[in-house]
């Protein structure tokens, strides 16, 4: 998880922001090498040599409850790429969110790494709606380490 610099934090709070901040999304079935990459933008974005296809993706954050936190993600399934991936998956699907500033596209401001999973998804020929949950909700053993702010991308906005 990259630590945003003070300058990056300052820039995101500035008005106007003349360089677009673009969210990149990666999907990968656990254990598979194929990664599907999408960018919330109207043209393809290259980040560290990987091309992220332009996509329409909207994210809804949940209301507070005593259940596990899970955001809802809705994206286009016109090209059926993500739909086929979900349909063919036999293991869990990992998701990764990356935020970049297009003036320095190779530097991630936020990168969730492999901390997100897609516990369920449904869709039709035009859209896929899926839930994004933290990997911690799997209740699987994780390598011991101290919990740091880097594990919680939301605190970057604090």
């Amino acid at each position: 998880m990259p630590q945003p610099t003070t300058a990056q934090k300052h820039k995101v709070n500035r008005d106007p922001i003349s360089d677009a901040h673009v969210m990149l999304v990666e999907f990968q079935e656990d254990g598979q090498t194929l990664v599907h990459r999408a960018a919330v933008n109207n043209e393809d974005v290259t980040h560290n040599g990987n091309v992220y296809s332009r996509s329409s993706i909207s994210v809804n954050l949940p209301t507070s409850s005593d259940r596990d936190t899970g955001a809802t993600l809705k994206m286009s399934n016109i090209d059926r790429v993500i739909g086929r991936t979900i349909d063919a998956a036999t293991k869990r699907i990992n998701a990764r969110l990356i935020l970049i500033d297009t003036s320095i596209p190779d530097v991630a401001i936020v990168d969730t790494g492999n901390l997100l999973i897609v516990p369920n998804a449904q869709g039709d020929s035009t859209t896929i709606t899926m839930e994004l949950a933290p990997r911690a909700s799997l209740l699987e053993p994780v390598p011991f380490q101290r919990t740091t702010q880097a594990l919680f991308p939301g605190v970057w906005f604090a």
Partner: protein, 115 residues
Amino acid sequence: MTNTSPAFMLLPLIGSLTEVRPPSYASDGSELGSVRRRQRMTRDLRGFKFDVWATSVEKVTFDAFYTTDLSRGVQSFNWTHPDTSEVIDVLLSGYPDFTMLSADLYSASINIEEV
């Protein structure tokens, strides 16, 4: 495969050509009158709207182009801007409205979107 638009679509023959650009930025407003903006997308996708005359033969040509070359509107094609001669990759927003004005004369309202 890159498709090229039929000849009669190269010039807006009736009235004017309108170019629109949906905002590529996110914006808010307030009752105080101040507006804040940030860039959301990295590109402006233009839209063009114009009307052309078409003969019956040109309509048949266009229908074949629409049905076969464009796979009924799914494929993009190269359209040449009549003023700047810029070649733009566009999609038809939908099948154009063809209005028959008299025998062998149609007017067509064409909406295209840059992709």
